[in-house]
């Protein structure tokens, strides 16, 4: 099977308000897709449904990920299956160090996959390697997750976690983000480094800025809960010139 993700006729609502009104989206293995759209288009909802947030209700449609029914999977099961969400606003977890956090994540996945626990030296080596990969200072290993981090440090921490968990599908939520250029580059480098024929990514964004650093294979425009345009790089140029009203 060539497609990693197949979204068909997806309808979702929060409370009584229907936000996604029939989305069709197919992502092949090795592809990077950008989903762009104005505020209120449904970008956050699409992201929330893909990652399993409880407050959104899917009323119609299906999502098949790697041959499995994604909507029946819990957030942790999605993670074990290789999905990673990079948060727009990473959450602080006081009292839990990055090392403890990532160790819990790695061991939980191994347990779910029926593998024995990773030995501590092996884990620490992996941790060190991935921190170096995203140019994160070693002392961050002992810091509490995101506590007192700057915006750029939080982004770097997200990309570090992405690199360590080595996902098959990365979902990057940059919906309204006022990312500065440095943070953009961190994200872009991380995504580009993980590019491979088996791995895919979805970049959900309002702005074209990030897409100057990451070359998407396919660009979708999301508007009023539907995909209204799908194309290549030229779609980004069109948005840059005339905004979202043209669609």
């Amino acid at each position: 099977m060539d497609n990693l993700l197949e979204i068909k006729n997806l309808h979702a609502r929060i409370g009584n308000r229907e936000i996604l009104k029939g989305i069709d989206l197919t992502i092949g293995r090795g592809e990077i897709h950008a989903v762009m759209g104005p505020n209120g288009a449904g970008k956050s909802t699409l992201n929330a449904v893909l990652t399993g947030r409880a407050d959104y209700e899917v009323t119609e449609g299906t999502i098949v990920y790697d041959g499995k029914d994604l909507l029946s999977m819990s957030p942790e099961e999605r993670s074990w299956a290789g999905i990673f969400l990079s948060f727009q606003y990473p959450v602080e977890i006081p009292g839990v160090t990055i090392t403890a956090f990532m160790k819990a994540a790695v061991q939980a996945r191994r347990k779910a996959q029926g593998l024995p626990e990773m030995k501590t030296p092996e884990f620490l080596k992996l941790l060190k390697e991935k921190m170096a990969f995203v140019q994160m200072k070693p002392e961050f290993a002992k810091r509490e997750v995101n506590v007192g981090f700057s915006g750029g440090e939080k982004k770097r921490n997200e990309i570090f976690q992405m690199a360590l968990l080595d996902p098959t599908l990365s979902i990057l939520d940059e919906t309204d983000s006022g990312l500065d250029v440095d943070a953009l580059k961190i994200v872009a480098d991380g995504v580009n480094a993980l590019r491979s024929p088996e791995k895919s990514a979805i970049i959900i964004t309002h702005y074209q800025k990030l897409l100057e650093y990451v070359q998407p294979d396919v660009v979708h425009v999301l508007k009023d809960g539907r995909i209204v345009c799908t194309g290549g790089r030229e779609v980004i140029d069109a948005i840059e010139q005339k905004g979202f009203d043209q669609f």
């Binding site: 942790e76 993670s79 939980a108």
Partner: protein
């Protein structure tokens, strides 16, 4: 302080530390933990007098299984006395846990710090009454008190009532109390990284309790937290 009749089946004093607050030795004597989680159901009343230059460090650990009524009175009676009082409580079922703390600064230049963190699930009821009295003569007193609570269920109930009675004018005193729930956003964040929901809850609860968990009791606290989830 009249204690009346009470049964005290708990041997607390050996694990409490009361030491000289001397310059060479520093202040680092603590990790004392009267564990009052086992033994007969019932109340505990304790009173302490802390003299000049002495330091008292006490940690109360209440683990699930029984209701407790704990009354502690501490009198700071000598200049330079210092008290570190901590409490950790975990309760579920229909347990009742009550803390009544009296921290009485009777003389100048003493310091007291209190930190009580607890988690209530099931239909447990927790009551925390923390009273600090600073006598008219007790200038340069520093007295701090914090009580933080997490509710795990709709039926659990926590009441926290700090009381400050300050009769001196040159003092530093503060108190803070919070009652909240587990941070759903943090739980979701952990789950998206593959940490199962229950384990994410345990991690969050242990980190909340960490500042009041004595090293010697870490394992049993962890076990109790896992049980409570």
């Amino acid at each position: 302080m009249g204690h009346g009749n009470y049964i005290d089946p708990f041997e607390i004093s050996p694990r409490a530390s009361l030491g000289r607050n001397d310059k060479e030795g520093g202040l680092g004597r603590n990790d004392s933990s009267p564990v009052i989680s086992s033994g007969a159901e019932g109340g505990v009343e304790k009173s302490y007098f802390v003299g000049a230059g002495e330091k008292l460090s006490l940690t109360f650990v209440v683990l699930p299984g029984e209701s407790r009524d704990i009354e502690v009175a501490i009198d700071l009676v000598g200049e330079g006395a210092e008290v570190d009082l901590k409490g950790l409580y975990l309760c579920g079922g229909d347990e009742r846990v009550t803390f009544r703390i009296l921290m009485h600064h009777r003389v100048p230049g003493c310091v007291s710090r209190q930190l009580f963190n607890g988690i209530a699930g099931g239909s447990a009821r927790v009551s925390f009454e923390g009273r600090i009295i600073v006598a008219p003569d007790a200038q340069k007193t520093e007295a701090f008190q914090e009580n933080h609570n997490i509710l795990l269920s709709e039926q659990a109930h926590v009441e926290t009532t700090p009381q400050l009675e300050i009769y001196a004018d040159d003092v530093k005193c503060s108190h803070g109390a919070t009652i909240g729930r587990l941070d759903e956003e943090a739980l979701f964040y952990m789950r998206t990284r593959g940490i199962p929901e229950d384990e994410a809850k345990v991690l969050q609860m242990l980190s909340f309790l960490a500042p009041v968990t004595p090293e010697a009791d870490r394992e049993r606290v962890e076990k109790a937290v896992i049980q409570l989830v």
